[in-house]
Every structure is written in C-alpha cells, then in structure tokens.
C-alpha cells in the first residue's frame, strides 16, 4: 500500500474551496437579477407591456435582432465552413479578425462602424451613390448588431463543422458526393445542434446590443431606440420603468437560452451503435 502523499485535510479543503467559488460566481450573476426583480413593483410588468413607447422599443428590438441573427447565419455559414475545413495562408489572421468584435468595446465598435459605413466613412461615398444611408436608420441598428453578433455564430458553427466525424465525409466522398452536396446533406445536418446554438447566441447578443447601436445608429424612438437604449434613457427618468424593462429583456434572453438548449439537445439522438473510434492506420 502506498500512503497518501498529501495531508488528509487537503482533499476536503480543496473541495470546499471549489464549492465556495462556484457559489460565489452563481451569486455574482444571480444577485443583480434578483435585485432587479425586487425593484419591479408587482403588476408593472404587464402595465409596461401596455405602454406604447415600450411596445415600440420591443417591436424594434425583436425585428432588428431577429434580422441580425438571420443575416449572421447567412454570412457566417460560409466563413465557418471555410475555417473548419480549409488550411490556407492568413487563416490565423482571419480567425483573430472573426473573434475581434467579441473583445472590442461596443462603443469603439460603433465608432469604427461610423468610420467605415458612415456618411463620411470609407464606404460612405459609395453607399450614398447607391442611395444607402446607414447611420440613424433601422438598417444601421441591424448592421451594428450583426457586427457584434456574427462572431458568436461563426464560432459555434465552426466548432460544429469541425466536430463532424471525418468518416461520414469519407463515406460521402466515396458515394459520389461533391463538396457542396456533402456540405448541405452531411456537414450541415450533422452540425445542426451547434448551428442552432450559434443562432441563439447571436440573437441574444443582438438583442442586448447597446454601445455599438447608440454610437453608430443613434437613438430615436421607433427608428433606432431598441429596448436596451430605452432602458438607458429610463434610468434617468423612471427607475421603476427601467427596472421593469430590464427584467423583460432578461426574461426574454433566459427563455431563449433555455429553449435553445432544449432544441440543440433534442434535434436528433447521437448514433447509439456503432461507436466511432478515431481512425487508425492498418
């Protein structure tokens, strides 16, 4: 018998520490939400839902964030596929680029968007020539949201594509399927849970987007004032209303996350037998 080399108290102490820290982080996230709930007087949630200006902000938030999520999927899919399947020079740079919006402060992102797509921005002249104006428009809100949300979709989709067992791809190749056919009929359906998760993340990010929106698209009721912007305004006018609207946003996001999880897990059961071992030589 080999005696345990560490003192007997180490195990339980380590476990207690882990539990304690886990509890701490749970509290860190839960406490503000609870505080918000306590701040909302009962009944105001429904009353706020009846408020036309709140409805306007809600409607705007829903339409822009859904649009942004869908745009993210359409433009994000090819990029995710590219990053998951190809090796090429400059791939590292592209990967970092795709992660950048996740770490840029949203206000900076909004400013950068102005520099690029604003009237006096890099592409401003071109856009104006086509009669397109993005700042101060709902389309501008969607653009800001896409900028912030698309990395979440690309990241999740890429992971999903990479995780597809290469044996299925080999099988598809020997069954005469070209790259596109394999993409639509094998890779995409097999990565679907990840794609759905990515879509949900992108949508949630777009829904909560504030900094880039207010900087790039401005702040006008019915046009660019989404729920987060409305909350920010209300913060200086009516704290109860601000809390109520915040709670509404949190509930929406929570429902979304829960639904996504459910959908992602339930899309189809993983194959039971045979089990897929890593390919071996021989």
């Amino acid at each position: 018998m080999i005696a345990a080399s560490s003192p007997r108290w180490r195990e339980p102490l380590g476990r207690a520490l882990m539990l304690g820290l886990a509890a701490l982080v749970a509290a860190l996230v839960a406490l503000p939400v609870v505080a918000l709930v306590l701040r909302v007087p009962p009944g105001t949630l429904l009353a706020q839902l009846g408020n036309p200006s709140v409805q306007e902000a809600l409607r705007l938030s829903l339409t822009t964030s859904v649009a942004a999520a869908l745009v993210s999927v359409v433009i994000g899919l090819p990029m995710a596929h590219l990053l998951a399947t190809r090796a090429f020079p400059g791939k590292r740079v592209l990967e970092i680029l795709m992660d950048l919006p996740m770490v840029i402060p949203p206000t900076v992102a909004g400013f950068a968007l102005l520099m690029a797509f604003g009237r006096a921005g890099l592409l401003g002249g071109t856009l104006t020539a086509f009669g397109i104006s993005l700042p101060f428009t709902t389309a501008g809100v969607v653009l800001a949201q896409v900028f912030m949300a698309v990395p979440f979709f690309v990241g999740a989709a890429r992971a999903g594509f990479s995780a597809v067992d290469p044996r299925y791809l080999d099988a598809a190749a020997t069954l005469r399927a070209g790259e596109m056919h394999t993409f639509w009929r094998v890779r995409l359906p097999l990565a679907l849970p990840s794609l759905v998760a990515g879509l949900g993340m992108a949508w949630a990010r777009a829904l909560g987007e504030f900094g880039a929106t207010i900087t790039f698209a401005g702040n006008l009721a019915g046009v660019t004032r989404t729920v987060p912007l409305d909350v920010y305004l209300l913060l200086h006018e009516d704290l109860e209303a601000a809390a109520t609207l915040s709670l509404l946003l949190i509930v929406m996001a929570a429902v979304l996350l829960a639904g996504m999880r459910q959908a992602g897990l339930g899309l189809f059961a993983p194959p039971r037998a045979p089990r897929f071992a890593p390919p071996r030589a021989g």
Partner: protein, 357 residues
C-alpha cells in the same frame, strides 16, 4: 481487373505493395493492426494520394503519379465500407442507400426507387424508414453494403466489416456476407486481422507485414507453405527454420532446429528448410513420451489461451523462444493440470511435419 502498385509514407511508416485481383473475386488483405491495411483501402478509394504509384481498375486508370493522373473518390467506381459503416445518423435507411444516387445526379424519385429495390434485394425492406441508431450492428452492415452496391461499383472495399459486431451475431452475418460477395461481379478487397476470415473470404490472400506484402496465395497454399514466421503465426501455425543434419533411407531427414532435432519425411532438396507443424497435431504430456516414432520438444508453459468461440479448445504456448504452440482440448488441459511455468513435453509424429525450401 484491379492492378495497383502503391508507395506511401505516413511518418515513420512506409507502405509499398503491389496488388492484383480479378473481377468477381475477393482479395483479402490480412495483417495485424498497424500493418497498413486501412491505408491501402484509403489509397484505392482515393481518400489518400499515394506518394508514388498507379491504380488501374475496370479498364480505367484512376491514379498514376507518373502521368499525374488523379481521379477523386467521387469519380472512381468504388464502394467503401469503413469499419463502423458510417451510416449517416440523420437519414433513414432508405435515404442512406439513396444518398449516392442523389449525389451522382439521379432524381429524388428515381433514387428512392432504386434504393428500395436494393433494400429488397438484401432483404432490408422492413428497415427502410428506420434511423441507423435503431439498427443492430449486423443490420447496419447490410445497409452500408446496400448503400455502396446500389452505385454498382467496379471495386468494393471492406474494412474489417465484421469487427464491429459482437461474437454472437458475427457468425450469422459472416455467412450472409459471404453469400452476398460471391454473387458480386466486381472486385472485392476485404481487409481483416483475423486469419479465419481471410481463409473464409479470400479467393486470394495477401499477408501484409509492416507495409509490405509478405506473401500472396490462396488459403491452402498459405497454410501449406507460410513463408515467414509472421505468416505462420498469423495463420496459427508453428514455423521453425531448420538445417539438414543427415538424410536417411527413403525421405527421412533429420533437421537441426532452434528447439531441437526433428525427424521428418521430406522430398525437398537443399540444406536449409522451413518446417511447419500445425498445433492440433501436437500432443502434450508431463513425462517424456515413450513412443520413439515421435519428435519431442521439452518446454515451459507460458500461456494458456482459450480458443474462440467457446473455449472448448485451448492453445498452449511453450517457451523459451522461439515459442511453440500446441492446441489441445480444454478437458485434456484440465486433466493434466496445466499451469503457467510448468515443464511439459510436446510431441508430434514425423508425418505431421511439412517441410519446404
């Protein structure tokens, strides 16, 4: 007709082999894991490009590194079953079988019709709407076979098609698979690590040893004359190199082997001979046998291995190296009270030894 000459390096591992097989026949590649069997299949399928080589099949050149000819897997008339069949989990059995037809440009309706006909041919119609996760291992194998065969390949590649199955179903599936393969007009290349399967399926057998073909031939030829100790071991035979000590009257020859002197009857000429003893011809005893007509090797029991499927017979491995194997009934082993480390005597008749140059 399949003719392939392949050279390929994967890190330290080097593969170099020539293969040939006639339409309607099955070529079995047998070898231990790591011998390069799967690599050969992937090269033939076009999933891997050889460093150098040439593949000709059905009158077409699929690959020739000399002329830079290269056909992708999609272009080759190939059917490929990987070890675990890789049925698409999101598609029904019918759509799995129809996948290749749709991919090669057939309409959805035509594909479904052809797929259904193939399922019927293999007796799988009842499973058409099931998902792969709802199938047994044997059913999955047959569906994968249907999926490949519906494209009428000129070359069918099977990578350990029975290894994913449990022992009970393996026997039935094996019989079924043999019947199916016998009727196929195409070349079949069948990869296995089990000599038993090689014997059963192979019209010709190529033994792969560390990336090279150690020996090619049909089953009787291989059993009679294993060329290397590896082939012999693989086939479960005892192989010993020997040097002629003297030749007696008739064909009687005395050979000096690493395990001792052996007397046998051999017509072969030459000073250096291989001798082969089938383990089931070997008798074990705890005392030196009295019958003088027998060759006797003393040894120490190293291992006692039950033989599949039911362990009614056991293989007794005797040391020291080179090891010598006897196959006896479990009952006999038990009666003798055989255990590892015990001294025993292995004996066999001169007539049960084959020798060749």
């Amino acid at each position: 007709m399949l003719r392939a000459s392949l050279r390929h390096a994967l890190g330290e591992f080097r593969l170099e082999c020539e293969l040939e097989a006639a339409p309607g026949s099955t070529l079995v590649l047998v070898g231990e894991s790591g011998s390069g069997k799967t690599t050969v299949l992937r090269l033939l399928a076009g999933l891997l490009r050889p460093d150098a080589g040439r593949i000709e099949c059905d009158g077409a050149t699929w690959c020739d590194t000399g002329t830079r000819q290269w056909w992708s897997p999609q272009r080759r008339a190939v059917g490929y079953l990987s070890q675990d069949y890789a049925l698409f989990p999101h598609l029904s059995v019918l759509d799995n079988v129809g996948f290749g037809l749709v991919a090669s440009g057939h309409g959805r309706r035509t594909s479904r019709g052809m797929a259904a006909a193939m399922l019927e041919r293999l007796g799988l119609t009842a499973l058409a709407e099931r998902r792969p996760s709802q199938l047994s291992g044997g059913q999955q194998q047959r569906v994968a076979l249907a999926r490949a065969l519906v494209l009428e390949p000129a070359l069918l590649l099977l990578d350990e098609p029975l290894s994913a199955l449990d022992l009970e179903t393996r026997h039935a599936v094996r019989t079924e698979l043999r019947r199916t393969l016998r009727e196929l007009p195409c070349v079949t290349v069948f990869v296995t690590h089990a000599p038993m399967e090689a014997m059963l399926f192979g019209d010709r057998i190529a033994v792969l040893e560390r990336g090279r073909v150690a020996q090619t031939g049909d089953a009787p030829a291989l059993l009679r004359r294993p060329r290397t100790r590896y082939v012999a071991t693989l086939l479960g035979l005892n192989l010993l190199p020997g040097r002629v000590r003297h030749r007696g009257p008739g064909d009687e020859v005395a050979l000096e082997t690493p395990r001792g002197l052996v007397t046998l009857l051999a017509a072969e000429a030459g000073e250096e001979l291989f001798l082969v003893v089938s383990p089931d011809q070997v008798t074990l005893s705890r005392e030196p046998p009295s019958a003088s007509a027998r060759n006797v090797f003393p040894g120490v029991v190293e291992e006692i291995l039950p033989e599949p499927p039911h362990g009614e017979r056991v293989r007794v491995v005797l040391g020291p190296a080179p090891s010598f194997v006897a196959e006896v009934t479990a009952q006999a082993s038990h009666a003798m009270g055989l255990t590892a480390g015990q001294r025993v005597y292995a004996s066999f008749k001169a007539t049960s030894v084959a020798a060749y140059a």
